[in-house]
């Protein structure tokens, strides 16, 4: 069931949502028992300039609802929008395996003309789920690019002001420009997350395991980190990984291009005087951790999807000290590489 709301006044949108829940409740009256559970643990706002008018963003939100029930608000910014601001409300429902009751989350799709993007703040303010965190997922690539217009910059600024946390993705973006802007946002107190950092968890976890045995750890004296990646430009993930590893141990960093089964990081090497430890993605679904001394371990590797990355990020609403530290030092590494 969907309802178009125009003009997109928060009051009107909220009334539509209320009517939606009333309609869903009708079924309960017939059955005489609760059949729908209304679920909401946060407001998730997605801004997108993708040509599908937010369709793929809505699909990912629908998947995420299962783990992170939320009031989803998709802002589709497009020249093709029929009106300045127009909203549509509907419910995302699913029935957990083996359960009789449906779980439903509400979703609001707002189509916005580009010139109205800076003006979305008041509308969104009225739509936030009360007293719950607000996460902003910025999928508006043009607004993150060096050539972003003032409307685009103001637009994401307006949403960011409402957000507890902003998630963006520096993959395939101009890192120098975007790192600079991220630093500016961080300076004024915005909580920023980068999905390129999230992609690293599968790499960071096995490496971190090596340092669990603290006493007489043979690895703690490594002095050089080497990160090999595929692609023409250095991915942010390679810079982050190098920063995360090198900083605590004051190790030197080298980044180099290589070949591999798919884009991204392929190999990490930790060089110490007596040993070299290598974590390598030797197949598309497999990683091996080996050292010149003794150990060898195998790990499954799954190429992360947007869903899995967002799923991980939405579980962290507050600050992320490991990322904060890596980001600080990633800027230095990026500057030295350039």
């Amino acid at each position: 069931m969907t309802t178009i709301v125009y003009p997109a006044q928060p009051e009107q949108i909220l009334k539509s949502l209320s009517r939606l829940w009333t309609a869903l409740g009708e079924e309960e009256k017939h059955q005489g028992k609760p059949t729908v559970l209304r679920a909401c643990a946060m407001t998730l706002i997605v801004a997108t300039d993708e040509p599908d008018l937010g369709f793929s963003a809505s699909q990912t939100i629908a998947e995420l609802m299962h783990e992170h029930p939320s009031r989803g608000i998709v802002l589709a910014i497009s020249d093709r929008a029929e009106r300045d601001l127009q909203a549509r409300v509907f419910a995302q429902c699913w029935k957990p395996f083996g359960k009789a009751q449906q779980i439903c989350c509400e979703q609001i799709e707002v189509t916005v003309r580009p010139q109205s993007f800076p003006l979305v703040g008041p509308t969104l303010s009225g739509l936030l789920a009360a007293d719950l965190p607000v996460v902003f997922w910025c999928r508006h690539h043009a607004a993150l690019a060096p050539a972003a217009t003032s409307d685009q910059t103001a637009g994401i600024g307006a949403v960011m002001r409402l957000a507890t946390k902003t998630i963006l993705d520096t993959k395939d973006m101009d890192l120098e420009c975007l790192f600079r802007r991220m630093q500016q946002w961080r300076t004024i107190g915005r909580l920023i997350a980068d999905l390129e950092w999230t992609r690293l968890t599968a790499w960071r976890e096995p490496i971190a395991c090596l340092f669990d045995t603290v006493r007489d750890n043979p690895y703690s004296n490594f002095d050089r980190v080497e990160v090999a990646y595929t692609g023409d430009t250095v991915p942010a993930s390679a810079v982050y990984l190098a920063a995360w590893l090198a900083h605590p141990f004051k190790a030197k960093v080298s980044l180099r291009e290589t070949s591999g089964p798919s884009p991204g990081i392929q190999k990490v090497m930790l060089h110490s005087p007596g040993e070299i430890v290598v974590l390598e993605r030797d197949r598309s679904d497999h990683m091996t951790l080996a050292s010149t001394r003794t150990r060898e371990r195998e790990y499954n590797y799954t190429e992360p999807t947007l869903y899995s990355l967002m799923n991980e990020e939405l579980a962290i609403i507050g600050s992320d000290p490991a990322f904060d530290s890596a980001f600080e030092h990633a800027q230095e590494i990026l500057n030295s590489v350039r």
């Binding site: 559970l37 643990a41 299962h66 395996f97 009751q101 779980i103 960071r204 971190a208 669990d212 499954n300």
Partner: protein, 517 residues
């Protein structure tokens, strides 16, 4: 999190507890009693699910052992059928099973045959090479409790308690059948394994909702100030089952509800509800506080047992168009059995926080529905401003009630009074509800998934320690002794009812009544 893990996390500069999952090192699990119910209903479905979610590493193997002659392939096929049948809240994936099955092995053998342990040792050496299990082994004793001492002794005699990696042993409940036997069993196990390697499982402690009691109490600022005798009138803990003994009559006849549920699961739940906050959230501190609480429970004198404890046994009944047998009519049960299928006990905790507050615990089979919850009933307001309406019979006064629902419909609700719309001050009880599903999506790990990961990772926080086991035997032992010398007039409640009338009378004598969950 254990102290060891925490220290490691603090010192490891690359640790990232926000994102990294619990580390499960490579290991092999040896299950004794592999053709039994627990293995097929709980252990294998949990291990499969952990494998499905990639929460256990590829360097992993399971060696099942029991008397039933089977090949590896027959064991795999049998477990495939069980897992696909008993998997909870999750679909079965044939492809994932094919990979998982490669980690399953079977060694037939008698528990008292030394040659069986030699074959297990040989297989462990094999999988250490083929599956790179690093010599780490977790032994799971899922046998009849009477075999525990024997199996552990054989593990020691065959050098299986030590090896290239760590060695741990999980022991299912019941840990002894009274205080003396629990102590004896502990002494025997300690001859082979150190305390740090002994994991006494109580699966209630692994339930998300039981763990959430600690989060609810100590992660929020508003509840703990009310959590004491000044505000709490009494606490009711209910664990009701609608089913009977389901073919386990012979086993159950030797156990009874008090031993089966209250001595272990429900006393641990009570300890979780009533314990003091630990100074640090780690295994030792959390277990210290639980143990301290159990030691503060007043031990009944024999003459007090009749006043504070009620035994029951269900009789036959016609429920929902179906004739249900009484306990004495169940297969394997003696026709004059004196076993309690229902037990209700009033405990008092003699410490500063809870002095004078009764904790009512009841459990039983063939009750009207399956439900486990904890209800904290607060004192009524000091002044009855709205009693006038009560005198008209519109509403009896009802104190606030906080209910922690452990299963099913996991969640928390707070009952309070609200004005009914319209003229006049007519009040009506309403409920403020938190349901897990409305905030945390669809699936939470089962208790066995949680506890297996903890044991493999070396975190004993949710396992019981010997002092906790002994303290919980101490509080039920006087009741067991009196009941053991009593000839009850059983059956005293019909299937499908909330237990014997004596249980209602126990509360009525104190001016209270059981909730209807």
């Amino acid at each position: 999190m254990s102290l060891a893990l925490q220290t490691t996390a603090e010192l490891n500069p690359l640790q990232d507890s926000l994102r990294f999952g619990r580390r499960v090192p490579p290991c092999a699990i040896v299950i004794f009693g592999a053709s039994g119910d627990l293995t097929k209903r709980k252990l294998l479905p949990s291990l499969y699910r952990l494998f499905y979610e990639r929460r256990i590493p590829p360097s992993f193997a399971v060696i099942g052992s029991s008397r039933t002659p089977m090949s590896d392939d027959q064991f795999r096929e049998k477990m495939r059928n069980s897992v696909s049948h008993f998997l909870e809240d999750a679909p079965f994936d044939g492809d994932v099973w094919s990979s998982f099955a490669q980690c399953l092995f079977y060694i037939p053998g008698d528990l008292n045959d030394p040659a069986s342990y030699d074959r297990i040792k040989q297989k462990l050496n094999q999988v250490e090479q083929s599956h790179k299990t690093a010599g780490n082994v977790l032994f799971y004793l899922s046998t009849q409790p009477s075999h525990y001492e024997e199996v552990v002794a054989e593990l020691g005699a065959h050098g299986l308690a030590h090896g290239n990696g760590w060695r741990r042993v999980i022991i299912e409940k019941p840990f002894g059948h009274d205080l003396a036997s629990a102590r004896r069993l502990n002494d025997e196990i300690h001859k082979v394994f150190e305390e740090a390697a002994i994991y006494r499982i109580d699966h209630y402690l692994g339930k998300e909702t039981v763990q959430n009691i600690l989060a609810f109490r100590f992660g929020n600022g508003i509840f703990e100030p009310l959590w004491n005798r000044r505000y709490v009138d009494h606490v009711q803990i209910t664990a009701a089952e609608s089913i009977g003994v389901e073919g386990r009559g012979a086993y159950y006849q030797e156990t009874g509800a008090l031993r089966d549920m209250i001595q272990n699961h429900l006393s641990q739940v009570m300890a979780t509800v009533a314990m003091e906050p630990p100074t640090v959230f780690d295994a030792d501190n959390v277990r210290d506080e639980r143990a301290k609480l159990l030691r503060a429970v007043r031990i009944m004198k024999p003459e007090e047992v009749a006043k504070f404890a009620v035994a029951g046994q269900y009789g036959p009944a016609h429920v929902g168009g179906q004739d249900l047998p009484g306990f004495r009519q169940e297969p394997g049960v003696s026709p004059d059995s004196q076993t309690d299928t229902y037990a209700a006990v009033t405990f008092f905790i003699d410490n500063w926080r809870w002095a004078g507050v009764p904790f009512y615990i009841r459990t039983g089979k063939r009750l009207p529905k399956r439900v486990t919850d904890v209800a904290i009933q607060f004192h009524a307001p000091p002044l009855g401003l709205f009693n006038q309406e009560t005198r008209t019979g519109l509403m009896a006064p009802r104190p606030n009630l906080l209910v922690l629902r452990i299963q099913p419909d996991e969640g928390i609700s707070l009952r309070f009074l609200s004005k009914s719309p319209g003229s006049g001050m007519r009040l009506r009880p309403v409920s403020m509800d938190f349901n897990y599903g409305s905030s945390f999506g669809e699936r939470t790990p089962t208790a066995y998934e949680t506890l297996l990961v903890d044991a493999m990772s070396g975190d004993p926080t949710l396992y019981t320690r010997q002092d906790m086991v002994e303290a919980s035997w101490q509080i039920v032992e006087p009741i067991l002794e009196v009941w053991g010398n009593t000839k009850f007039d059983f059956p005293n409640y019909a299937a499908g009812t909330w237990g014997p009338k004596e249980a209602d009378e126990m509360l009525e004598r104190q001016g209270r009544k059981w909730r209807v969950p």
